[in-house]
């Protein structure tokens, strides 16, 4: 599987580089913890739950109403958008976030050449985004990933319609 994950933008920006390196460090932590758990036959569900909790505590926001999709662009700081080379679009009832670079994946690719391992670690790490988009009145979906051959990863959150679930 050939995955292109090189950063193309902000590579001369020392703050963005520092953030990318720091985020990659967290990705390395996750790799070694998952590997140690697997070698001991420990099921990894606790990692999914832990990262979801982290996302809720550190990234999430309390909502006392159903927000409009445009408001959700505020969930992503300018720095985060640069680090991940995010392309954010709001169309109709949904917000789409296309990530063109992933510092976590940079870390995992330096530690293992096993695509199944990358994909598993990604699924764990994305629990943080699932927590971020755990918003009343919204459904969240990871629609495209580089593991499926796409050029970049795409997540989306859609405001539920009245007719949904009918």
């Amino acid at each position: 599987m050939r995955i292109e994950n090189r950063p193309h933008r902000y590579t001369e920006d020392s703050v963005i580089t520092s953030q990318r390196q720091g985020t990659a460090g967290r990705g390395e932590y996750l790799y070694y913890i998952a590997e140690a758990a697997k070698r001991r036959g420990i099921p990894l569900d606790f990692l999914y739950e832990a990262v979801y909790c982290w996302g809720k505590e550190c990234l999430g926001r309390e909502w006392d109403r159903v927000p409009e999709p445009e408001e959700l662009t505020d969930l992503f700081t300018e720095t985060a958008n640069k680090v991940w080379e995010n392309e954010i679009t709001v169309s109709g009832d949904e917000i789409r976030v296309r990530m063109h670079h992933c510092p976590f994946l940079t870390a995992w690719m330096s530690l293992t050449d096993d695509p199944a391992c990358w994909k598993e670690l990604c699924a764990i790490a994305m629990e943080a985004d699932r927590a971020l988009f755990d918003i009343p009145g919204y459904t969240y979906e990871l629609r495209e990933t580089v593991f499926d051959g796409c050029e970049s990863c795409l997540m989306a959150a859609r405001k539920k319609q009245v007719n949904d679930n009918v």
Partner: protein
């Protein structure tokens, strides 16, 4: 237990602040991972092993991973940026080094999630496995002389080149 862990320097340096925030996030990540494991009745032994292995991977990326020259390793690890992030005071010779760090971003991350002294100490023990790996036996003797948990406003790591105790000790060969 009052823990004195406040960043005092480089607060307006964007690169330092960014790096600190990343390490704080890593500390919070570790808290959640260990906390969820505990909830499931798992021992945290796997976390100790994991972070040791992470430290060992850093050691293997050093210029001379097997060197016994303490200053050589210290100079590579405690760069200007690292010393700013952790507010380090470092003294090192070929034989011995003392590293006093006056701020710990990992500890800041943990304190945002818990004030349980036992949990804090456990998380610290896990995180310090990285340093245990970097200054591994039998090359070095590594110890913590003071810590935030003993009421100090800094932690002190001491690393000494391991010296064999007797003439017959196989380390001497």
């Amino acid at each position: 237990m009052e823990i004195k862990n406040t960043a005092k320097k480089y607060l307006d340096d964007p690169a330092v602040v960014t790096a600190r925030n990343c390490i704080i996030a890593r500390g919070e990540y570790l808290y959640q991972l260990v906390n969820e494991a505990k909830k499931k009745g798992l021992s945290s032994e796997f976390a100790h092993c994991a972070i040791y292995n992470w430290g060992d991977s850093i050691r293997r990326r050093l210029k001379d991973p097997e060197t016994t020259n303490v200053k050589e390793i210290i100079d590579q690890l405690f760069t200007e940026m690292e010393c700013k992030i952790w507010e380090d005071e470092v003294t090192a010779t070929e034989e011995e080094a003392r590293v006093e760090f006056h701020y710990c971003p990992l500890l800041e991350g943990w304190l945002r999630n818990t004030d349980d002294p036992q949990m804090l100490q456990e998380l610290c023990d896990i995180a310090m496995e990285c340093d245990v790996a970097l200054f591994d036996k039998p090359r070095f003797d590594y110890s913590i002389e003071e810590s935030f948990f003993s009421g100090a406003d800094h932690c002190t790591m001491v690393i000494r080149k391991h010296k064999p105790e007797t003439e017959g000790d196989t380390d001497a060969h």
